[in-house]
């Protein structure tokens, strides 16, 4: 796990200190700018840059809710990203279990095809996908285009290849004896999956869920074409602050912060799982 307990040489310690200090600066400056600018009056952010606000104000945090329907975008993003994550994880668990525990014809075709979709430039299938959704809508009456459902479907497939691939790795690392035992105890394969394999693979599943959520939460291209006013997500909706008249930088920063906090907090809370999940799943 860790290196031998011998004391690191000075050169190592010094270079570490310098490197990590510089890196911390690089990482934190934009974060600081985001936080401090969100507390500045408009004059501060449209004039010469200043490190400290001339006066502290919480107005941007109040204004953001009325300049654009931020609350609605927020709810949309939560629904879309949440649903996409849950579906993506469940589907990935099924697929990964099949690939990890069974031999069947077409297994390789499946994994290679699914993984290769990771290569597709989004722009290539944006318009076709849009046409498919519209046609499905016309044929069956299920509104995919412009609805949250369509977006959920799209986003969950974005994270699916990586999720499946990672969970295959993780499931492979869960000893087969465990599901053997469960099968012996009278569980079916699905019982074994949910009672034994899934609990043992929680870190991997959390890692996959975090990834899926982030993918859906930040996507711009498809959301800009596939949503309308009622279904718009945050990633697109935030552009509303750069309006016709003025760029409300302080509000943009405040809103960016508000939409970032849930993801960043969740991410940091789950980071332990994330490292553990990646360790067993992705990098083995």
């Amino acid at each position: 796990m860790s290196r031998s307990p011998m004391a690191p040489p000075r050169s190592f310690l010094w270079s570490r200190r310098i490197f990590l200090t510089l890196l911390t600066g690089f990482v934190l400056v934009p974060v600081y700018v985001m936080v401090s600018s969100s507390l500045k009056p408009l004059a501060d952010v449209t004039g010469q840059f200043r490190w400290l606000p001339s006066s502290l104000t919480f107005r941007p945090y109040i204004d953001i809710w009325s300049t654009i329907p931020l609350a609605r975008y927020f709810v949309n993003s939560l629904i879309v990203a949440g649903a996409a994550t849950v579906c993506s994880v469940v589907i990935a668990v099924f697929s990964a279990y099949a690939v990890s525990r069974y031999t069947f014809r077409g297994k390789r075709v499946f994994t290679v095809t699914v993984l290769s979709t990771q290569m597709f430039p989004g722009i290539l299938f944006l318009l076709p996908l849009f046409l498919i959704y519209v046609n499905i809508g016309n044929a069956t009456g299920i509104a995919l285009f412009g609805s949250r459902g369509g977006l959920i479907l799209t986003y969950l497939t974005f994270s699916l290849p990586f999720s499946i691939w990672m969970l295959i790795g993780y499931f492979d690392s869960v000893p087969r004896d465990l599901d053997e035992a469960a099968l012996v105890d009278g569980c079916g394969p699905l019982g074994a999956l949910f009672r034994v394999v899934v609990p043992a693979a929680i870190p991997g599943i959390v890692a996959v869920a975090v990834y899926a959520f982030m993918t859906a939460w930040g996507e711009v291209l498809f959301a800009s074409v596939m949503t309308n006013d009622t279904t718009r997500t945050l990633a697109v909706g935030l552009q509303g602050y750069s309006t016709l008249n003025n760029v409300y930088w302080n509000q943009i920063m405040a809103a960016s912060l508000v939409v970032s906090v849930p993801v960043v907090a969740g991410f940091l809370l789950l980071q332990r799982y994330l490292v553990a999940g990646l360790t067993a799943g992705a990098v083995k």
Binding site: S66, T67, R108, V109, V112, F130, L131, V134, V225, V247
Partner: protein, 438 residues
């Protein structure tokens, strides 16, 4: 080897599946119908200070319409950054609004897609006849010789906005009427961190609007009479160079303006950082930024010499918003009624006042509300010295390619690189070659 075989097998499966599904592409519904006579969807462009402001302006009017006709209008205000994409995807899929706003310069481009209802004499009669509208506004509703693809809704024109106090401080008594005067004044004003003129160097549409007017003043056009792009004729090159030179040679535009694309130059003007601004109907905009109406004056955009007029003395594009109906609407009668409502004298007065634009409807324009000195300049410009941008199918590509060329030239100027006739021509040449081949 196995991997390749697997991938090949996958590809075959997929293409077989697609052969089945791909046939259904495109929209099949052609003409309009009246299947759902009780509702309409309306996409409005973002005209006010924000989308929320627009909703507040429009909703009461839509309620009025519902009371009159019993038709409920579902409003969506679409930001400019999304509008063209949304229209395109709606066109591709046939899944769009019933009635929508389009930038009037897009009229011919969108007309070419065949997705919009043509406004022939019969349709015009339903909304009170074509002659209710001002001619210059009708000139920007589609290609010549074809039935208009849209109906004018709001008209706007460029004017020169100038800061009265800064002019007085610099000892300038009258706003400039020619470019030479503007440059001379600008040089007097450009000092101490303040600048003579503001510009939106990275805003492709703004660039096009100015390049177009300068070209007109050089007696040149971007398109030949039969609609072929002709961006490199000497008049156009001189025109673009003259515009960029305001920053490059005359140095009356702050270099920082080269990266402006979100109307920062209007903010700068409101804050007194720029003494002059060439803008369309900026009053409401300036008010919302805290600039009082008596702090600035409005004059016609300068010309090369003489006074604004036609021909080489054109000093504005015909700016504005048109109202179009999607051909495959399922409430054709309702859509027509709605257009009639929005272009009625009463609504025109209300809406154009709210957006500080000029009504393209003659009767409404004559109303006293639009007789202020500010509006007088805009009205005169629209009536006498504004020209419509080329009404060709490739207009939107023209905006992008030439607008980007001007943006690049501004970037050169800002970085201190020389902007020469040759470099301007090279950029325009490249823009022209990127236009669709006929």
């Amino acid at each position: 080897m196995r991997r390749i075989r697997a991938a090949a097998a996958g590809a075959v499966t997929v293409s077989m599946l697609t052969a089945v599904t791909a046939c259904g592409g495109g929209s099949s519904t052609g003409g309009g119908s009246n299947d759902s006579p009780k509702t309409l969807t309306y996409w409005a462009s973002n005209q006010g200070a924000s989308i929320e402001v627009d909703k507040k302006v429009l909703q009461p009017e839509l309620d009025k319409f519902e009371k009159q006709t019993g038709i409920k209008v579902k409003l969506e205000v679409v930001p400019w950054s999304d509008l063209l994409n949304r229209i395109l995807t709606a066109t591709t899929s046939g899944q769009g609004p019933d009635v929508l706003n389009i930038g009037n310069t897009w009229s011919a481009s969108l007309q070419a897609t065949g997705a919009l209802l043509p406004w022939d004499a019969k349709n015009f009669d339903k909304i009170g006849g074509k002659d209710r509208f001002v001619d210059s506004a009708l000139g920007s509703t589609g290609a010549q010789g074809k039935d208009p693809a849209a109906v004018p809704l709001y008209s706007m024109a460029y004017a020169l906005y100038y800061n009265k106090k800064m002019f007085a401080d610099a000892g300038i008594s009258n706003p400039p009427a020619t470019w030479d005067e503007l440059i001379a004044d600008g040089k007097k004003l450009s000092k101490g961190g303040k600048w003579g003129l503001g510009a939106e160097g990275s805003n492709v549409s703004e660039n096009i609007h100015h390049a177009f007017v300068f070209a007109k003043q050089h007696g040149a056009d971007f398109f030949t009479a039969d609609g072929k792009p002709d961006f490199t004729n000497s008049g156009v090159v001189a025109a673009v160079k003259q515009y960029v030179d305001l920053m490059a040679k005359d140095k009356i535009i702050a270099p920082g303006n080269a990266e402006y694309a979100q109307n920062q130059s209007v903010s700068d003007f409101a804050k007194g950082k720029n003494a002059m601004l060439l803008w369309q109907s900026a009053s409401a905009n300036l008010t919302s930024q805290g600039m009082k109406a008596d702090a600035y004056g409005i004059a016609p955009v300068p010309v090369q010499s003489g006074t604004p007029g036609t021909g080489t003395n054109v000093n504005s594009m015909v700016a504005g918003i048109n109202l179009a109906v999607f051909k495959n609407t399922d409430n054709l009668d309702g859509a027509t009624k709605f257009v009639k409502f929005m272009t009625s004298d009463g609504e025109q007065k209300i809406l154009n006042t709210a957006y500080s634009s000029i009504p393209p409807v003659k009767a409404a324009q004559a109303d006293t509300t639009f007789n202020t000195s500010a509006n007088a300049v805009l009205k005169d410009t629209l009536a006498g010295s504004a020209a419509a941008l080329p009404q060709v199918a490739d207009e939107s590509q023209f905006e992008t390619t030439v607008g980007t060329a001007v943006k690049d030239l501004f970037a050169d100027a800002a970085a201190g690189r020389a902007v020469t006739t040759a470099s301007v021509k090279a950029k325009l040449e490249k823009a022209q070659q990127q236009m669709p081949k006929k």
